[in-house]
Assembly symmetry: C2
Homo-oligomer: 152 residues x 2
């Protein structure tokens, strides 16, 4: 039975630490009609929100183009387009913090994606935090609750 | 005690229908230093993910500029920038489906926001669905689980 969990949790639970999950990449079926519902911006990109399947935490936001969305659906791993490096990247391929896709939805006007994943490893953020959204406005909100990011 | 709930639920629970919530707008404190962490794109915009505080469903994705983010924090209601109409809009001001802000976070590189809200009314989507992400890739995924959108 699933219990609700905090939106932002930065450490694995002791239960998870005791019995780490092994996830499997599973392709997501899709039709060309569904793919055509996605509206790309003038740079050919669509924003992708990545959410954790286990506790519904929003982990990260990144960009996909038509080809990286197709790869995501076909491989069951998250593929993005790096605007700075102008190349495809598969989340966790170097860090090991891989994302195993459970579902992909598109919004009412097709210009945003919601990708629900099982997050492997330490988390989604390159800073070492579980989620990229580790800083909130407000008192104390600028202090990351997780591990100190490199260089800070 | 909070229980986990499906990521996408399109109808109010009978409990919620029996005892509808009355939410209150509460300003979110912030510092200018925190505001300066937000990185806007070349159009002066930053993407905002809106998530329901009650069950963590991702409700919608829209754009904010510097002024709409400030209004969001100061008023405790969600303010966005409409790219098509080139004007500010406050979610639910006409529909009644208002969003009461509980927290706002910014991601590691400051170019995305996560706004956690109490969602009043029928939901976040103009189609009548609770969430804008009501269509998933896969068999049957293109059929909205909620009310039929207007014009479809």
């Amino acid at each position: 039975m699933h219990q609700g969990a905090p939106l932002v949790s930065t450490t694995q639970t002791s239960e998870a630490a005791a019995a780490p999950h092994t996830f499997e990449a599973t392709p997501v079926p899709f039709t060309e009609d569904q793919l055509d519902q996605v509206a790309y911006n003038k740079d050919g990109l669509v924003g992708a929100i990545v959410q954790d399947a286990s506790d519904h935490a929003v982990l990260m936001f990144a960009w996909m183009n038509h080809e990286s969305l197709r790869r995501t659906l076909e491989t069951g791993r998250t593929w993005f387009w790096s605007r700075s490096r102008q190349e495809y990247w598969c989340k966790g391929e170097t860090s090991g913090d891989r994302q195993y896709v459970r579902s992909v939805s598109y919004d009412c006007d097709g210009d945003a994606l919601l990708v629900v994943v099982d997050q492997a490893g330490a988390g989604a953020c390159h800073t070492g935090n579980r989620t990229c959204f580790y800083r909130a406005f407000g008192p104390g909100g600028a202090t990351p609750p997780g591990p100190t990011p490199p260089g800070q």
